[in-house]
């Protein structure tokens, strides 16, 4: 079976551009997470969905970041007016059920470079 997939794998944006990052979770997984991993750091939580409901967006660094999961499956993380500090790897993870004791399966990430 397929794992979590993310696209694009690499994205280069000029400062000020808008970008959209896609995550395809494992089919049937209820929970979906977005994390940001800066160079040399561990992943940091951005936001969490349970089906189509965004239950926690406390980690989104600014109102330039927006995430959606309209049909409870595919999710998109959108960053408006990108800044250099947005350069990072964006990781998506899904889990079969809710709650953190369930294993989160991670995608390979999208490496965003803002010039």
């Amino acid at each position: 079976g397929a794992g979590v997939s993310q696209s694009p794998r690499y994205k280069v944006a000029k400062r000020g551009q808008d970008v959209a990052l896609r995550c395809d979770p494992i089919s049937g997984h209820v929970s979906l997470f977005w994390y940001q991993q800066a160079l040399g750091q561990g992943p940091e939580f951005l936001t969490y969905f349970q089906n189509e409901a965004q239950l926690d967006k406390s980690g989104l660094p600014s109102d330039r970041f927006f995430a959606e999961r309209p049909e409870g499956s595919v999710s998109t993380l959108k960053i408006q007016r990108t800044q250099q500090e947005d350069s990072a790897v964006y990781l998506c993870a899904s889990s079969k059920l809710a709650y953190s004791y369930n294993e989160q399966f991670f995608g390979p990430g999208t490496r965003l470079t803002v010039l």
Partner: protein
Amino acid sequence: AQSVTQPDIHITVSEGASLELRCNYSYGATPYLFWYVQSPGQGLQLLLKYFSGDTLVQGIKGFEAEFKRSQSSFNLRKPSVHWSDAAEYFCAVGGTGTDKLIFGTGTRLQVFP
């Protein structure tokens, strides 16, 4: 505040030697503890997890970890390291009342033949 500390940024061992990666956590409620491994260009893969019960947990690839509540630690061990174990290792904590994981900054493991 909830946090995870991995004191060792980089560890180098010889193939066949034993390994211990340190992890300390701070968490106000009952912690759920995880170790993930990340190879270059790959997503994170779960090695093992602790929720309750036996404080020594076994994982994949011959790894084990021991939960010590008194020391707020969850150190990862392997008795004999293989060259393919070279990767970045992350400790993470979750718990009751939350769905997200809090990760440490990672330990990069280098294995010499």
